[in-house]
């Protein structure tokens, strides 16, 4: 994309005063490609319109939610992406009401989704994901995740994961899963580390596949600002490191090649 198109789009969205948030980004993948990215959200009646722009693709989405106060909420949305490499569509619906939370997500693309948006997975074709959470009691939650995908070459695979979380002062999670016939066990821990509310969540999936995810979130002030540090490491070798604070976000990742994505978000949503 011509940088002038990118800058003009940003200026129009900003200047129009309609944008709720604008995120400017620069993405680079070593010896591969480099692109500016622009994300914008705009209110459209009871919905939010989300736009994504990168060098060779454009995405538009429409998202809505119905709130039931403390009882729960329902969210729904669709998105379509079009680029030189192909096109893709996705739809999602999810929500929580009382003791149940569930979501369904369906994606289809004719190219790798990372070609339509750099932040998406490097896979194409069809993907269906279903997740659910059910409260067995005030402090016990059962989780279920099911996934199915058929890639661009026509190969199909499935995933399934069942977990049990017990919340005391800290939350302990135990589970079992299968990912394309590879079995693994899941162990998780989540808890506050200090009086200020610094929170650590760590999840290890171990067995015929290995994946560690750890997220540290520390409040930066009395408002809603946080410092967030997220690390994932997996075998076969892949790793990501994410750092987020004051609207700034950096994502570094390795999955056979190195990439870096720097973003800055301006919010116009009327802070506290």
């Amino acid at each position: 994309m011509n940088p002038w198109v990118y800058l003009t789009a940003a200026a129009v969205l900003w200047g129009s005063g309609f944008a709720q948030s604008l995120t400017f980004g620069l993405y680079g993948r070593l010896s591969d490609r480099f692109t500016p990215t622009l994300e914008a959200t705009l209110p459209l009646g009871n919905f939010d319109l989300g736009a994504r722009l990168q060098r060779d693709a454009l995405g538009l989405g429409l998202f809505g939610a119905t709130e039931f106060s403390a009882l729960g909420r329902l969210t729904y949305g669709v998105r379509a992406g079009l680029g030189f490499a192909g096109w893709g569509v996705e739809g999602r619906v999810g929500g929580t009401v009382g003791p149940v939370a569930a979501g369904l997500e369906a994606l289809y693309s004719t190219t790798l989704r990372s070609h339509l948006w750099v932040g998406d997975e490097a896979e194409g074709g069809l993907r269906l994901d279903l997740w659910g959470r059910y409260r067995l009691g005030p402090r016990e939650t059962l989780g279920l995740g099911l996934g199915f995908k058929r890639d661009l070459a026509g190969f199909s695979s499935g995933t399934g994961e069942l977990s049990y979380a017990l919340r005391q002062q800290q939350t302990y999670t135990f589970g079992l899963g299968v990912d394309d016939s590879r079995l693994y066990a899941l162990l998780g821990w989540r808890g506050e580390l200090d009086e200020a509310g610094t929170l650590l969540e760590a999840t290890l999936r171990a067995g015929q596949l290995w994946r560690l995810e750890a997220t540290l979130t520390a409040p930066l002030d009395e408002g809603l600002s946080n410092l967030k540090l997220r690390l994932t490491a997996a075998y076969p070798w892949a790793a990501t490191l994410e750092l987020e604070a004051y609207g700034f976000r950096a994502d570094a990742s390795y999955d056979g090649g190195f990439s870096l994505w720097l973003r800055y978000t301006l919010s116009f949503g009327g802070d506290e």
Binding site: E67, S69, P99, A101, R135, L199, E222, G270
Partner: protein
């Protein structure tokens, strides 16, 4: 006949003045300092079932109120924080904090806007209150107050409130629908004045996903 009418008008005015005076006393008493209390009883859920309820209410007068849900079990861990401008609604199961402008947010949800009970003056703007009499309770003598909403949007058809005379504050509230079925019966217990800070009332999991809905 004229005398009788005059007496009726006088009595009516006197009762009206009394309810205005009680409201003023409760308001002044609850605004004296931050306080907290537990509300226990039964509420009717949207599916029509009645469930045991326990809410923890913390109030910094004219600034912030926090309602934590302990029962029903399906809502345990959820909380609502209400400030002058915003309503924060935390959903435990999805670890989301939804922030809405106060004018737009529906705080009722359970058929009762719990924070109205901490702001009786605000309640009188939406409900016509009248003094029904007095009643003895384990906590002491109490005023029995009846109320009818001024519009249907509050979700109940009538309410009854017991207000402690010695320390003017609500003791018990009952909400009924148009068929006189009980929507909520909640008793206040463990009322105590305490040092509450805005930070404590806004406490939330740091990693909650913050969603602004304007």
């Amino acid at each position: 006949m004229k005398k009788l009418l005059a007496v009726a008008v006088f009595l009516g005015l006197a009762m009206a003045q009394t309810i205005a005076e009680i409201t003023r006393q409760v308001q002044a008493n609850l605004e004296r300092s931050p306080w907290e209390a537990t509300l226990t009883g039964r509420v009717q859920m949207p599916d029509g079932s009645t469930q045991e309820a326990e809410f923890r209410l913390q109030v910094i007068p004219r600034e912030l109120a926090r309602v934590e849900f302990k029962k029903p079990a399906a809502l345990e861990g959820n909380f609502v924080v209400i400030s002058e401008k915003e309503v924060w609604n935390y959903l435990f199961l999805t670890n989301q904090l939804i922030i809405q402008p106060r004018a737009k947010a529906r705080v009722e949800g359970l058929g009762v806007n719990l924070t109205d009970l901490s702001d009786l003056e605000q309640l009188t703007e939406r409900v016509t209150l009248r003094l029904l009499g007095e009643q003895n309770t384990p906590a002491g003598a109490a005023w029995r107050i009846g109320g009818v909403p001024k519009d249907a949007s509050l979700g109940f058809a009538s309410m009854e409130l017991l207000v402690l005379k010695a320390d003017p504050r609500p003791l018990y509230v009952t909400l009924r629908d148009a068929n006189n079925r009980v929507l909520a019966e909640l008793g206040f217990s463990g009322f105590r004045r305490t040092n509450l800070t805005p930070q404590a009332l806004r406490k939330r999991p740091a990693d909650a996903e913050v969603i602004r809905r304007n």
